[in-house]
């Protein structure tokens, strides 16, 4: 392939991070936002030759819906005639193995912390029907805060296989070496089947027990990751993270049939939302060009929250890029055209109009989030709220976007992204709307949202 335009428009290459069979991964910087990302560049021709197109498409489709602090976040996917670009979070700390002292391993508390993050990420994937099947220390990354990042990747039903691999990672973390001798494949195979390994004396008895149950050669007797989560050793200091799946993402122009879509078009903004460019934790993907990896970073929620709020509150002199909405945009973004209602419960949407300055609206939204201790991320004219507690349908996540309608008017669009509908309505009715009164035009006086497209 001619190596001319390597990256999508507006991204400048910083360096090559890794190279694989059909992909190269670059560290790149967005020229406007200066955000650093990892971009995986795949050659369409090679994908076709390898018959990997469908697989890659499915992988991307699944991966872009997964959002978890310990999974490398897929920001967006773009394509031109000959290439596919997968823009991902850049995980700054590099591969996990580099952080493990050889032959001595990490302290048990540190081991547990990383292991908790790994299990949290994997059980999250498993719950979505996604199995990694290639977990190994080389495939795990660590961000600049020392948190794990897994590359999400799609295998077949492999809950048991993933559990076994977690056992290996756990062993390596705590021991600083691999459990099985891998001089050659036959020896390796034999030692694995016999469960022939020895834990260093430094392992606590509970740790030994967990390793043994994970490295159980017979999958039928092997402990599951969900069971692991119930053990006392695991539970120590563990906090379940809140996460959600963005259910609106769609895969665009991945096949070569369409014209190149290299600019960051509006249609990508659902994805942009999930990209946490709030300046708090922005890890980087050190790709090896292989499968799509997941990053495992589990900042404690408290810290994460603080950082987000701090980021949101800090006076930001930067210019917000507001998108304008033309008449057709208003029509196209109407829920009436959203046929996804045929397939699943759709997100509820609420729209209102305001003549207040955008910055005023945004500060108000951030303030409301702060009052109910939601995490708020602001990116340009979009504020995303995320509850920090899991409701029974997962954490509530709400996106609010502001668009320019006319020079004097903006439209605020509020949309439930995940979580329980009743909880969402409650939030809109008793927090959001009262909070916005005075800023927004024509909000009815009663506490009910004016329009809810009842799902």
């Amino acid at each position: 392939m001619g190596d001319r335009p390597k990256l999508p428009a507006r991204y400048e290459q910083v360096k090559l991070l890794g190279e694989g069979n059909f992909a190269k991964v670059y560290l790149a910087r967005h020229m406007d936002t200066k955000e650093e990302v990892a971009i995986k560049v795949m050659d369409k021709e090679k994908l076709i030759k390898l018959g990997a197109v469908q697989q890659i498409k499915r992988e991307i489709a699944v991966m872009r819906r997964l959002r978890h602090p310990n999974i490398v976040q897929l920001h967006k996917v773009m394509a031109c005639k000959s290439r596919i670009f997968v823009v991902m979070e850049y995980v700054r700390g590099g591969p996990l193995y580099r952080h493990i002292p050889a032959n001595s391993g990490l302290k048990e508390d540190e081991t547990r912390r990383i292991f908790q993050q790994l299990v949290s990420a994997l059980t999250f994937c498993h719950a979505q029907g996604v199995y990694h099947r290639d977990i190994k220390p080389d495939n795990l990354l660590v961000d600049e805060h020392g948190n794990l990042k897994v590359f999400a990747r799609r295998g077949y039903d492999g809950a048991k296989a993933d559990a076994w691999s977690c056992g290996i990672v756990l062993f390596v973390l705590a021991a600083g070496r691999k459990p099985f001798r891998d001089d050659d494949f036959i020896t390796l195979y034999r030692t694995i089947c016999r469960g022939d390994y020895r834990c260093p004396r430094t392992f606590s008895p509970e740790l030994v027990r967990i390793v043994r149950r994970l490295l159980q050669p017979n999958p039928a007797h092997r402990i599951t990751l969900l069971q692991i989560k119930e053990t006392d050793w695991f539970k120590k200091g563990f906090k379940e993270v809140s996460f959600y799946i963005d259910n609106k993402d769609c895969l665009r122009s991945l096949d070569g049939s369409e014209e190149p879509d290299l600019c960051d078009s509006d249609s990508e903004d659902e994805t942009a939302m999930s990209s946490s460019s709030s300046g708090s934790s922005s890890p980087v993907a050190h790709g090896d060009g292989g499968g799509m990896h997941t990053s495992v970073s589990a900042p404690s929620l408290v810290n994460l929250e603080k950082m987000h709020i701090a980021a949101a509150r800090a006076p930001e002199p930067r210019i917000r890029r507001i998108k304008s909405m033309n008449a057709f945009d208003i029509i196209a973004s109407s829920p009436s055209f959203d046929l996804s209602g045929l397939f699943e419960e759709r997100g509820e949407q609420l729209r209102f109009v305001s003549s207040a300055p955008v910055n005023t609206i945004i500060s108000k939204l951030e303030e409301i989030a702060g009052q109910v201790s939601f995490t708020a991320r602001t990116k340009d004219c979009q504020v995303s709220f995320e509850a920090t507690r899991n409701g029974h349908k997962g954490a509530l996540a709400i996106s609010t976007k502001i668009f320019q309608l006319t020079p004097e008017l903006v439209m605020v669009q509020v949309c439930k992204k995940a979580g329980d509908t009743a909880e969402y309505r409650q939030f809109c009715g008793s927090e959001l709307k009262p909070g916005l009164r005075g800023i927004v035009d024509g909000l009815p006086e009663d506490g009910l949202p004016p329009t809810l497209n009842v799902a």
Binding site: E259, D329, I330, F343, P450
Partner: protein, 193 residues
């Protein structure tokens, strides 16, 4: 899936029909069969006759069969290719294929054009655009002054009606959507894959 009591009316697609639909649309045979399950569910929700009536379509879309909605009507009318007031299975499949992620953008652009060409004149008139904007604002209970609406419609026409004849013709629409790809986002449903 349809209710058990409606079994007697059930007409599963004959294998030949399904294969033909798979051949003539973007869907694979398995996808056509999966769509049949969806079709069955919708078409047996109220009238139980294996045809999708407008009320059933609205019920499926909004979980409410009484909601009057200009756009649901428009989409229904486009799906009802034979214009006999109901959506049959092959119409359902042939129409939904426009929403398939693999369907060429040109087809999606054309479908959206027909959707907006309310009076079927072959172009989108200024009045049609204004009517649609008002309908949307109304359904979202958004209060906007007539001036603001006029301003928006004017601005949009300034950008889209390249030859300034007061109508958006198919070529102008094509150019406009390629500048504003987000306009066609709703034309792609990831579920169809």
């Amino acid at each position: 899936m349809g209710c058990a009591s409606s079994k007697q009316f059930k007409r599963a697609p004959r294998h030949g029909d399904a294969a033909l639909l798979a051949k003539e649309t973007t869907f694979s045979l398995d996808e056509v069969k999966a769509l049949y399950e969806l079709f069955e569910k919708i078409s047996y929700s109220i009238f139980k006759d294996g045809l999708i009536h407008k009320e059933e379509f609205q019920l499926a879309l909004f979980r409410n069969s009484n909601r009057k909605n200009l756009f649901a009507d428009r989409i229904f009318d486009l799906f009802d290719m034979k214009r006999n007031g109901v959506i049959e299975f092959d119409e359902f499949v042939r129409s939904l294929q426009f929403f398939h992620p693999d369907t060429p953008m040109a087809d999606k652009i054309a479908f959206a054009f027909r959707l907006y060409d309310l009076r079927g004149t072959g172009s989108i008139e200024r009045e049609e655009l204004k009517e649609m904007v008002l309908a949307i604002l109304n359904e979202s209970d958004l209060l906007l002054s007539d001036d603001a609406v006029e301003q928006m419609v004017d601005q949009t026409f300034k950008e889209a009606d390249l030859n300034g004849d007061g109508r958006i013709d198919p070529d102008e629409w094509k150019a406009f959507t390629s500048m504003n790809p987000a306009l066609l986002k709703y034309m792609t449903l990831p579920y169809l894959k």
